[in-house]
């Protein structure tokens, strides 16, 4: 009798742990981590978009929250230090993710009429990562900014 009771409780403990582990293996609904959706190469995406030019660090600021409330929607703001004149402005800004199935998240085309080199949007993040933003200037130079966000699992995963 004693033995049976203990088995039953151990079984429940194991099953509960199994369920918890099983559900912990799931990621947010937007990006299931199946083998067919592996993270693309962020560096390659940058080269494809902007060519092989040198990536200078600086001038680009990426604002992201330290922890994402939910990986499905994370507020991001990219600001580039530029006078935005006809002679000296930002041509393009790209947001690149090293862990999403597709590295390129968005590309923005600005120009002197933009007045201010700043864009804000909401992106999906498939897990904790460092998002990169690359800006291409009117003189062809490339500038890189980065910021990291921790993306946690939801409390009750519905899957």
């Amino acid at each position: 009798m004693e033995m049976m009771k203990q088995d039953k409780f151990n079984f429940m403990l194991d099953r509960r742990r199994l369920l918890t582990l099983g559900t912990a293996g799931l990621v947010c609904a937007a990006f299931p981590m199946s083998t067919s959706a592996e993270a693309a190469d962020a560096d390659k995406a940058i080269r494809d978009l902007f060519g092989d030019g040198e990536l200078n660090e600086g001038r680009v600021t990426v604002d992201l929250p330290p922890i994402a409330e939910n990986g499905n929607s994370v507020a991001i703001k990219v600001t580039v230090d530029s006078p935005m004149t006809q002679k000296n402005h930002v041509r393009r800004i790209a947001i690149i993710s090293p862990r999403n199935p597709l590295a390129e998240v968005a590309e923005f085309q600005l120009g002197p009429r933009a007045g201010k080199a700043e864009v804000a949007t909401r992106i999906r993040m498939a897990g904790t990562q460092t998002i990169r933003a690359v800006a291409e200037m009117s003189d062809g130079s490339l500038w890189l900014g980065k910021a990291s966000t921790v993306v946690t699992l939801a409390a009750c995963i519905i899957g």
């Binding site: 004693e2 203990q6 409780f9 151990n10 429940m12 403990l13 099953r15 509960r16 369920l19 912990a24 947010c28 609904a29 937007a30 929250p65 922890i67 409330e69 939910n70 499905n72 929607s73 507020a75 946690t152 699992l153 939801a154 409390a155 009750c156 995963i157 519905i158």
Partner: protein
Amino acid sequence: MRWPAPVIALAAAACTPAPTADEAREKLPASALISGYEFLQADTQALQDDDFANPGFLWVDRGRALFAAAPQQSKACAACHGEDGAELKGAAAHYPSVDETTGKLTNIEGRINLCRTRHQGLEPLNYETDDLLSLTAFVSHLSRGEPVKVDVSGPAEVWYRRGEDYFFTRRGQYNLACNQCHNDNWGRQLRGDTISQGHGTAFPGYRFEWQSLGSLQRRLRDCDAGVRAEPLAYGSDDYLAVELYLAKRAEGLPIEVPGVRR
């Protein structure tokens, strides 16, 4: 023979019978009610407060347009309820309530469908359709800031008790009752989240998890799925009863529609 502590604790939790008497059902003190808003990160709170960027307003806007439009061979909601729902301001704070004619507990979705069938000669709308979500969001939004206040006496009492029973009954593979997380353990961490008190004042609301606006019943279905219980059908009597119980439990907290939640 000594059993390890976690096994004993689990055994105790699993074997304790659910409380049957009212006295055993410890409730949240009215002075200590906290909205789910307080458990959000600052950025998410800011998004809910942003009357432009709050994605829930996409449905409120649409609801406003539907409210004003006269469907074919029928009159618009506005014809009875005033332009832009002027006469419905504050109404949603008193729902769910018992409908006089059917004698049944009715939530906002149900009331909208009763109006459609009784007064507009239209077909009822299904839960989670854009149209019903939009109308519900618009009507509830007219009560934003109003403290919830519901009647649980008379014909409503049996529904209130039913909702209370549901709230305190363990269910699902995890064998958990709502009160165990939302009365006993709110404020503590569950993975990356902080457990809230489980109020429904933000719904219909925009959930990041859904990437859409959704009804309170959709959230209740997610609650059931969360403890690995079979979610009930939309519009089920149990969920209606739970809506009333939750409203009474949250009495005094303001309506936040359209809320933003994880």
